[in-house]
Subunit: 256 residues, 2 copies
Amino acid sequence: MPGRLVENLQRYGDLTGEERRAVEMLAAASRLVPAGAELVADSDGSADCHLLLEGQAFRHKTLPDGRRQILGFHTPGEVLDLQRLFLSVDYGVSALTSGRIAVVPTARLVETVNTHPRLAHALWRMSLVDASIQREWMVGMGRKSAYARVAHLLCEIFARLQASGLTTGARCRFPATQAHLADAVGLSQVHLNRVLQQLRTAGLARFRARELLILDWAGLASAAEFDGQYLHLPTPTVPRPPDPHVRFQMDRAAGP
Amino acid sequence: MPGRLVENLQRYGDLTGEERRAVEMLAAASRLVPAGAELVADSDGSADCHLLLEGQAFRHKTLPDGRRQILGFHTPGEVLDLQRLFLSVDYGVSALTSGRIAVVPTARLVETVNTHPRLAHALWRMSLVDASIQREWMVGMGRKSAYARVAHLLCEIFARLQASGLTTGARCRFPATQAHLADAVGLSQVHLNRVLQQLRTAGLARFRARELLILDWAGLASAAEFDGQYLHLPTPTVPRPPDPHVRFQMDRAAGP
DNA sequence: CGTGAACTTGAGATTTCTCAAGCGGGGTGG
DNA sequence: CCACCCCGCTTGAGAAATCTCAAGTTCACG
């Protein structure tokens, strides 16, 4: 399934057959990576762009003293360092699971983008969505309580994985540790743990054994002040492979 | 000086004469706006993009209950809602000072971008820099102390205004209130006020009467863990109109 | 000289952090 | 097969950062 990338790009703009072919060329040479691998290093002067074909990863910045901020999570089909197209990268990306990536010389990507304007637009749009997600995280970290922030993160994870067809009912595999979650929302591990317990107790969601289980979507979304708009997910015309047991409404939280 | 936009774009990629002309066409019809005006509204279905020609502005998201997170500050020559090119906007932009903006139908911008790939690239790069700045803010809000965050904000403001030639020596006009700064770094007004006092007492910087004065750049940058890389400012080959009294080193803080 | 917005100050209340220790399961070497 | 160990999770408790509330103060402006 090297089509992961195509499938994902397709969500950001229709592609012609030729464009699809061009994308598949890019992803042709792929490489397996183990869980925990550094896929993109902050400081390497690498001239290559990295496409995530399979597996999950996260983007982060790490301060000299070890404090780490996770900036976002990546699902299959995403470009890990699109920024390299025009700028140097100033963050790292690590694999959360084992997976597969394609490594493409930036020059080649530039070339592809130049020959295929619509492809360029799809990628540009992808980077805009990325920025939109970052903004939402900023609001959380600056102005929301720990409780709301964690709830929001769980909402986002589930919504995105669901959009990628990676959920099963109210459940999805999300192979992060509590330390990862803490670094994502800007809390200490200890406090994050306590907040997770609160969410569990409140009957909203459960995160254990690298698996996320949504118990009450409406409640969770409302606690998180979650409104999926910012994800700019395609409005599912034909709903994805319908999840057997549960079907959640992704647009805006069913207000109380 | 409708050239503000051209001048700024130029920093993100060389433009041919024809491209420059295309940009100036976009900015041809401009409009004066008073301080405090809403330049871009979160929810309007407006089909127009807004270019800031003169004055300063800030981008923000405001929650239903009034809490507000400022997402970034805009200097002259920036596009306020480039995101509109491909997505709906999910934030607002308000004017900090009176100024002048150009309002361009999105369709027209799309067209321009389609006919001028290099222009497109410059804009794309601009949006990538934007995202890079957002990431740096995330690190601050998630993992830095209030003191470091405020110091960092002051560094960034000064660095960016300096790059735009809007500083005079160690001084620059920055017409925000303390409430704005608080909303930018995710602190309460009261606490922000106290942090500013600490910075003043420490002899690092002074922010008063809508003016920012840098007392000790190296010290401020080091307190902020500031490294200007993320701003992706062009390395000033010929240093800008040299500031009379002081010349700061922008690249990385002179470590202690 | 009155007014309002922005800024300052004080003090108690909360949230969140840090440190420190204990628990639990799965993998592994003996 | 078992004991041990490590990593991730959990718990407790005091400490620190930050918030909220509430009351001044300053200063530009009419």
